[in-house]
Symmetry: C2
Subunit: 306 residues, 2 copies
């Protein structure tokens, strides 16, 4: 069987593409490691229009149901290994050996958390080092913890943590916190958050579990340490483009993001489209990714009809 469209990725961009492709009555499937993607890392989303408060998981499941209702299923637990151009179509190879063929492809694989690559980060993963407060915050009840990164994802992580932890330090590399004022204010109101600016984390130490974080005070030049039982890393994201080999011909930018025509979501390869956080779209937000997924689907439809 040859699909009209294979959608790779099950976060808002991929799921919304599924909804739009389904309504065009095309033969399509969504392939994903897990429905929700990085949306699952957010406990409560407050800025998706139409929902006052919703969890990333609930929002994703609603989108999945919509796509499946009209005939585009999401196949979970699947990892794509490569995309190859055949004479007329694309061959999508899965880890495990399965091969699928499609007339067009929409890449919506999102991004994964950036690592700090400092001593102790890897050693203490799941021993106090975490990339997901939604998953792990309750484990740190009553402890002192550090959040690395003062962007929105760092502040949201800190807000998840102040409900549980005794004290939350937010270490920001730069001279000011760049996340939403609203989030900053709420953190201040919590009474148990402290911002540390110009703070470059350099090492995580401990015994069987994290015990402290060492950082460089870039203003004074001195090295400091704080005793914490947990370190939550929120240091940006890496676009999930590992399966795109040079041969497949999809252009990436210097950050590794898929370069798209921002009006049509076309990539540098005819018939391959991309949407959401995996692309060079400037702002990474659920509602923006959803809109981009709709655009990619409508472009793929035009491509298939032309």
């Amino acid at each position: 069987m040859i699909y009209d469209v294979i959608i790779i990725g099950g976060s808002p961009a991929g799921l919304t593409a599924g909804i739009y492709i389904a309504r065009k009555k095309l033969k399509a499937v969504i392939l994903t490691k897990n429905v929700g993607g990085q949306c699952l890392l957010t406990d409560t989303i407050e800025n998706f229009p139409g929902f006052d408060l919703i969890s990333g998981r609930e929002l994703s499941e609603k989108m999945r149901a919509q796509s499946e209702k009209y005939g585009v299923p999401a196949r979970e637990g699947v990892e794509v290994e490569s995309i190859e151009k055949t004479d007329d179509n694309f061959l999508v190879k899965l880890k495990g050996g399965e091969k699928m063929e499609a007339k067009s492809v929409i890449i919506a694989t999102g991004k994964s958390p950036n690592k700090l690559k400092i001593p102790g980060e890897k050693e203490f993963e799941n021993k106090g080092v975490s990339f997901c407060t939604t998953c792990d915050a309750p484990l740190f009840a009553g402890k002192d913890v550090a959040v690395i990164g003062g962007g929105n994802s760092g502040l949201n992580a800190a807000l998840d943590l102040v409900k549980y932890a005794n004290k939350v330090y937010v270490l920001e590399y730069g001279a000011r916190i760049i996340g939403d004022e609203l989030l900053q204010e709420r953190l201040k109101q919590s009474g148990n958050a402290e911002f540390l600016l110009n703070a470059e984390a350099t090492e995580i130490r401990g015994g069987s579990f994290v015990e402290k974080i060492i950082y460089q005070d870039k203003k004074s030049g001195g090295t400091k340490e704080i005793f914490v039982g947990g370190v939550f890393v929120n240091a940006g994201w890496l676009p999930a483009t590992g399966f795109l080999s040079a041969q497949c011909g999809v252009d990436l930018n210097e950050k590794g993001e898929v370069v798209i025509n921002p009006k049509t979501n076309e990539t540098s390869v005819q018939g391959i489209f991309a949407a959401g956080d995996v692309t060079d779209v400037k702002y990474k937000q659920c509602v923006i990714a959803a809109g981009e997924g709709a655009k990619a689907a409508l472009s793929a439809y035009e491509y298939l009809m032309s």
Copy 2:
């Protein structure tokens, strides 16, 4: 008082911009004729991710509540007459004389229905000629009606009508129906819809109320007529940019749409941003407009902080 941002337009783009601007704790207001805008013309939206079925009005009211909850109110019943650049800011003049000042402006005024400009269209408006099935379909119970336009909005209008009317003719100027296959199929299943291709409506006639529509059969070259009690016009849209004078300097394209940088939603005037159906964004869809509103808000925030 000087606002940080004045958002003009209360459809999904404007309301989502409101949500994002509010979360940045900026001083802002949404000015709109009516919350919902062209969203109100759609009875049930099935393709907004997260909602299986929702009316345009309900979705809009949810977005409005979200924006207002965080501090950006929507002021209804307001029409903007002009935007002028002052030395540092923008002066937004309302019909009625009121003037408001802002450091930046987001234009999200959407579009309004295109008129056919054929004899009878204006004379029979509200006497059988309608631009809104959501508003008027029930008035045509048991009658034969015509829908002009075979795009998605035309097919959706026809689907609204088959529930009430005896027979629904869909007149499409082109040689094929361009709306969703799913919608076409549902119309066929209804048993009381008929597609007329290559049909160019030329006149609407009647007495005190619409009685028939005359059209040119572009294939045979002949003139034909069908007896109908109602005509629903779905012939595209006009972007609502009447308030943008040449002096204000915002570039429009040949369709009258606001030209934007598709990555940042900047217009040709620094400090003025635009989002949604009023812009040259390729696809006009609620979720795409919402994503664009978020982008415009984040760009306006960057502009104000820089």
